[in-house]
Symmetry: C2
Subunit: 231 residues, 2 copies
């Protein structure tokens, strides 16, 4: 006889009912996205089972997912590492984001409610505080989530997935660049974007985010593409 067993009576731990492989995936994803893993660094299954205190099977599945998304790289012979971008890769990402991000911002501007705009504004304010505090990790996380929220508001899940996937690819490199430059020297165009969105000027919003993308990604290109010409 099975008892009710409690739907959500998670007295044992603070974890929700998410399967382990999903939890591990998100943790590993954040590790990549916020640059806790350096470009080129090897990623081993057993290393992650220890670091994340997980079983082998969930870790394997999480790694496969990240490889499929381009966040990790399978090196032929059983080895997995964090991708090391070259100048051409970065140019491709810039090109794709220059098309995707403005398009998504345009749609988001047409669909965002006043509450949505307030939420974005609040996120941007918190982001500025992280910059002033010199909190690099906080900056990276909030900057990503700001753009991610924008993608969601566009109500175009496939295009949003594509844009999201690009962040996973340049996340590790972005961390390196920001670490060199310091957070103070990383301006953004979020204020222009929010002003245009409040005015419901979708074209202007697209233009603002396009500049934001170019400004941010060009720093990555120069810091990386210029310094590492060979290889």
């Amino acid at each position: 006889m099975n008892k009710a067993a409690g739907k959500l009576a998670d007295s044992d731990g603070a974890k929700g009912r998410l399967p382990a492989h999903e939890v591990i995936y998100r943790q590993l994803r954040d590790l990549v996205l916020y640059g806790d893993l350096a470009p080129g660094q090897a990623v081993t299954i057993q290393g992650l089972t220890e670091r994340l205190a997980a079983g082998m099977t969930p870790v394997r599945e999480a790694i496969r997912r990240l490889i499929a998304e381009g966040a990790l790289e399978f090196q032929g012979n059983r080895r997995v590492c964090v991708p090391l971008l070259n100048a051409e890769n970065i140019s491709e990402i810039i090109l794709a984001r220059q098309w995707l991000d403005p398009h998504l911002s345009l749609r988001a501007t047409q669909r965002a409610t006043p509450d949505d705009l307030d939420e974005l504004t609040a996120m941007d304010t918190t982001l500025d505080q992280s910059i002033l505090r010199g909190d690099l990790r906080g900056y990276l996380e909030l900057n990503y989530k700001f753009h991610k929220r924008l993608y969601e508001l566009a109500e175009a899940p496939i295009l949003a997935d594509m844009a999201d996937g690009l962040w996973l690819r340049f996340g590790p490199s972005l961390r390196v660049v920001c670490g060199r430059l310091g957070t103070q020297n990383l301006p953004d165009k979020h204020k222009d974007l929010l002003q245009a969105m409040r005015a419901r000027d979708a074209e202007e919003a697209a233009r603002a985010i396009r500049e934001d993308v170019i400004q941010g990604m060009e720093q990555v290109r120069q810091s990386f593409g210029g310094q590492d010409p060979l290889n």
Copy 2:
């Protein structure tokens, strides 16, 4: 530093040395890509272990990869199915391909060698034969491989990955549409494209592939977005 010997000299072993999860992944990928799995159909691990005569772990990993690529859909409660596209999804895919494919064709035109062009021409010829024969499966496979080869020639791996991923998303729906219309009624612009590529007219090649994309995808949109409004 010496390289390890023995690149690919496995002439004796009939089977390649590919790991099982890689083999299963490719088989399952083809199943999705060429419409052997219908949109909306449930995909079970145990069903695939029987169908593909494989163990449970490789199948699980293959499914995770396909989910990450958007080829399969995770339905919250442990279930996995083949995505059922709606009109908005199809519009997104059309939009993305309208940008990606011309861009890749343009780059491919600038980089293709005469041998590459001969190869593409041969593929297109075989494709025409499949159409005449009424060989739907052969048509789907060759049509995909023609475009896939084009992506490779562009030498832009990230953009190519993105375009490739879109094929996985509309593959099952494409099969349904082609099954309804018959292969005879599926014209393409490959001849125009090849002519432009041979003339090294990159702009014209981009224009041709753009028309090819629109022509093909609009049939999917009309056949699906119009006919299946509810559900």
